[in-house]
Symmetry: C2
Subunit: 231 residues, 2 copies
């Protein structure tokens, strides 16, 4: 059955699809009044709904039943430098959704080669990937932050993990009492000062590969290894 994304549903009440989801539902998929479809809200619920008004911009749905509700998982938070190439970071977004990630924060480091981020586009990629994989929980995409601001806000309920070339240990155990944040620097690497500041927050330094990985690959490999330890 076709899957749509909507966050504004209420038990036993009518609700609207967004303009984009409405267009896809009515103009592309040619749905008509009375058709049943499933809705993911990205917050753990899969809902069965019925089309009340097949409006191509504001499709109205009636809630029928909740098919499944999954509890939130303890997922990884990835704080990552945007890549110089848009393609590369967008590919990262699609892949970590499939693999599983809880939150993504774009961090602007001193050597980050991109300052403009199209969060709307990033969010669309996340929603498309999560719908494709039928995920019940979608990752949160946070506003971009400058590295210093990000670091100043780290608190004792959070644990930083940093991939450092030549670090002696692999990721081997996860502290599930904390929010785990994997920090991935830009193409030109962290500055020595940035790395020292990260370490000063009791960050765990790990190696995730014998080889030198690109930024987006480090994010994907990090998420894969983290999930393999959590399951």
């Amino acid at each position: 059955m076709q899957r749509y994304f909507a966050q504004n549903w209420h038990l036993n009440e009518p609700f609207l699809l967004s303009e984009e989801e409405s267009r896809h539902c009515i103009s592309v998929m040619r749905n008509a009044i009375g058709n049943h479809l499933t809705v993911l809200d990205g917050a753990g619920n899969l809902i069965l709904a019925k089309i009340m008004d097949p409006h191509p911009k504001r499709t109205s749905l009636q809630y029928l039943e909740t098919i499944r509700t999954n509890p939130a998982k303890h997922n990884l938070h990835i704080a990552i430098s945007p890549t110089k190439s848009n393609d590369r970071i967008e590919w990262f977004l699609e892949k970590v959704c499939e693999i599983g990630v809880g939150k993504i924060t774009p961090i602007l480091f001193e050597r980050t080669e991109r300052s403009k981020i199209n969060l709307d586009r990033w969010n669309k990629i996340i929603v498309a990937s999560c719908k494709q994989s039928s995920l019940l929980h979608f990752p949160i995409l946070a506003e971009p932050k400058k590295f210093q601001e990000f670091l100043s806000e780290i608190n004792s309920n959070q644990k930083l993990i940093v991939c450092a070339i030549g670090a002696p240990s692999r990721l081997s155990k996860i502290d599930t009492t904390k929010e785990n944040i994997l920090v991935i620097g830009p193409e030109g690497d962290f500055t020595a000062e940035e790395l020292n500041q990260i370490k000063s927050k009791n960050a765990e330094e790990i190696s995730i590969s014998e080889n030198i990985l690109r930024v987006e690959t480090a994010g994907i490999v990090g998420a894969t290894l983290w999930n393999s330890l959590m399951e």
Copy 2:
């Protein structure tokens, strides 16, 4: 120092760069006679060489010394269906080179949606990715095979691993006495008959993720998990 790819070097003898590598070396990077550069041969050697003739199509180099020689590693062989979209399988190629893989064989399954494969282009992507990551061993790209042919050639020195949705176990241990071949099916999955035939070869069935992964993602996640167990 700039890195080039050449397989035809001999100890203490002159050798030629390919037309493409010559063009990059001379026309793009503007190298001149006498310049030193490093050469990867993809078979474990990193060589220091000197430009004898800066010809833009047939650059001649003099071998100076072998900087490093790494023994071949016991690496994963991935037998994978080409994806419908070229982009997706090409991302897979770039990423598994970075992560580490020994051999890639394109397999044409019943539901594979692409029959034409541009092996030259695939090889160029592999060489570019390996050069970028300064890998000493490049993966071997095998000729595409039909599934039945591939399966009929499996012998007792090889072990098949297959990702099956809902398989109970994760990849947890590697049999290093055999060539491990991870088999990844097409977008529409294996046919029941194909899966039965794979299982009949004593394949190990594993799950690599809780989520449904795209073809190229399954390859990348599989290579990541395999390497994390090997290191």
